[in-house]
């Protein structure tokens, strides 16, 4: 069975599993579930699995996608039932289905964020933060494959809103997932570089949804 897609969430203690470790973790989980992943041919065979958008260590997600192929036929409904029993804490199957479109059609990513400030009050910062991100251009220094480069991240932010609660600032943003990729952590880097007084002492992000270029939910 080719063209299968698993949608899963990665929360709690599992957010610290790195991308590479997640590949291994998934392969082992499939074996425990009695599901034989299809392997590549060749001298060093590897399971043919791929993840949509690599997730940074420490980031929670409710919309992870993994494509895989199975050697043997099994009813689609069986796969999540079997996987549920054998996944480590914090990795939960949401659904398994036959994929209709390729990962390259992913364009936008919905993220929630939380900014914590130790010394300053969130309510003081809130308006300044809104001002900062309403600029037409936010040019930052960014590590690239060939040293440091500049990027205007404003183009990669489709929308961003802030509000305040529990003494911290919560944000909701739709940012570019691919071409170019905007790692949400760059939102914090931008503050550190351009308005350090607004940079939070601690920030965490959660992926909640992915979309195609037309803002249809990507599945």
């Amino acid at each position: 069975m080719d063209n299968l897609r698993l949608r899963f969430s990665k929360t709690g203690r599992a957010v610290y599993i790195s991308h590479l470790d997640l590949m291994r973790t998934m392969q082992r989980a499939f074996l425990r579930a009695g599901l034989q992943l299809k392997y590549s041919e060749g001298f060093n065979p590897h399971a043919q699995i791929s993840f949509a958008l690599p997730l940074s260590v420490g980031m929670t997600s409710y919309c992870e996608l993994m494509d895989f192929k199975l050697n043997d036929y099994i009813s689609l409904a069986q796969i999540p039932l079997r996987l549920k029993k054998v996944l480590p804490e914090g990795i939960s199957v949401l659904e398994v289905y036959e994929r209709e479109q390729k990962f390259k059609n992913i364009k936008w990513l919905d993220v929630d964020g939380s900014f914590e400030y130790d010394e300053r009050s969130a309510s003081d910062i809130l308006p300044e933060l809104m001002d900062f991100f309403s600029r037409d251009s936010i040019v930052i220094q960014k590590k690239t494959k060939s040293g440091m480069g500049e990027a205007d991240i404003a183009e990669s932010i489709r929308s961003i809103t802030f509000d305040e609660g529990d003494g911290r600032i919560r944000l909701k943003a739709i940012i570019s997932a691919q071409d170019p990729t905007l790692n949400p952590e760059l939102l914090v880097s931008a503050l550190k570089q351009l308005s350090p007084q607004l940079a939070p002492d601690f920030a965490i992000f959660t992926r909640t949804q992915i979309y195609d270029s037309e803002m249809n939910v990507f599945r």
């Binding site: 203690r13 610290y16 790195s18 470790d21 973790t25 074996l31 420490g58 480590p88 601690f202």
Partner: protein, 611 residues
Amino acid sequence: MDKRLLRILPKVQKPARYTGGEYNQIIKDKENVDIRMALCFPDTYEIGMSNLGMKILYGVINEMGGVWCERVFAPWGDMEDEMRKAGIPLWALESGDPLTDFDAIGFSIGYEMAYTNVLNMLNLSGIPIKSADRHELTPIVFAGGTSCCNPEPMADFFDLCVIGEGEDMDRELLLLLRRAKKDNLSKREFLSEAAKIDGVYVPSLYNPIYNADGTLQKIEVLDGAPELVTRRLVTDFDKSYFPVKPIVPSTEIVHDRVTLELFRGCIRGCRFCQAGYIYRPVRSRDPDRLIKQGIESLENTGYQEITLSSLSTSDYRPLNELCDGLLDFCVPHSIGLSLPSLRADNFSLDLMSKVQKVRKSGLTFAPEAGTQRLRDAINKNVREEDLLNTCKIAFEGGWNNIKLYFMLGLPTETDEDVLAISDLAKKVLFLWKSHAVNKSKGVHITVSTSCFVPKPHTPFQWEAQVDMEEYRRRVTLLRDNMRAKSITYNWHDADTSLIEAVLSRGDRRVGSVIEEVWRTGGKLDSWSEYFSFQRWMDAFEKCGLDPEFYACRERSFDEVLPWSRVNMGVAPRFMWHEREMCYKAELSPDCRNKCTGCGALSLMNGGCCDG
């Protein structure tokens, strides 16, 4: 999760090793638990999670109703810095609770260089490091594992030590602790009850008295504690507990695979080898049971590799039958089977070809010494012609990568023995030139030497270690005679070996050195990134102790040894006899050939030795 921890985890290397949550971890409802045990390994997660003993004890203890056993490992330096900065005490992986919440804190110690980590982990937990400074019944802090066969260097820190295999003893200890909590026993009352459990050594019930020259005059026994603490073992090893549902780490560890334990003990009797003496007698597991355990473990974990572990795997009688049975499952499931510890004398190429279908990885042999005379003296029953014949077959079979392990500084070693190591390497190289089937990729012969460390409870427990200068001279001698292009020579530094020798055969006073090293920043001493020889030397000086007194001094048979209240099974008379045989360069038969009556059979309650 602790909010402070949330901030720290993204900053440290490999945070997944600090979070728990792995598949097959055991979570219990605290409401139904009255004894909480922290099973601590004084090294990193990657090392500790690879340890079979940890997996066995974790499973065995968690099988007890009302008892919850959790894992604790030493944090790497970056994590420790962050924890200390944020004031977060060390926690157990399953619940995330601090160690002060636990009733029993048990350390599994496999090597002496981990001693400073024990102190560091206690301190990171906010628990006083010295037994005398912990007045309450709980947490009781104890230790087990190979290093405890000489419990004295750590005597000031542990409330008690468990000597030998923990499967039964740890359960008995925890049951006693439960009763002591119910009956409101004081710590002192509990310890004198614990001393009645076979295999339990309570350091505070033994009082060392020294002669003017620094040697021991005697070790006094207090409050009716046993004169001799005899090692515990599992007599019915075949049917004893085996963890078929081990935890599957979510991050890579050192030995990331299923490990099967074929047998305990070793038939060989190499005179330098502590494991060969302190795990006697030989007890094996039935091959059908092993096959079943292997398949179950693979199915429960999703691992794609399984390995066979024992002191000398090729001495397992039904090894072929076992491998065939496992391969029947492994081959169709693309699971790799690997065989460690093969002996050069009964190496079977068939077996190797069978298990290593795809890749021909390197072959490793440990002749330990260069001349036949010295190999006979240490009772390493490997003959040069066997080793060379094995290499010949291997080269003909397509292997081009051979590793040879030796020790320098063995008792009776001369320069002739040292130089013979390079001769042997050259003979192996010559064999490759005349017998290799595929020479296009060249050959790689690696020779490694380590410095011999005399260990307690072996025939060499009375021996002097050669001093560092002499050891370095021998390394240089060998290095200058090992110039062939295809031969790589690696050697271990003498400084760790000296410290290891002191800690192995130290008495209670050495505890002050360990404490001083830790107080001046010592930790993770088995890692070169952290080990500081100077720190140890400074600590010896400050404590007024001479490391050479412990490492480089020959003892007489009559000397009271710090571990003389511990009986590991093999009689001291037998070990002394073996030492005399060494000086005559005479072999003793292996246990399969002829029983030498070492004394370990007395531990078996009438059971048999499967030598």
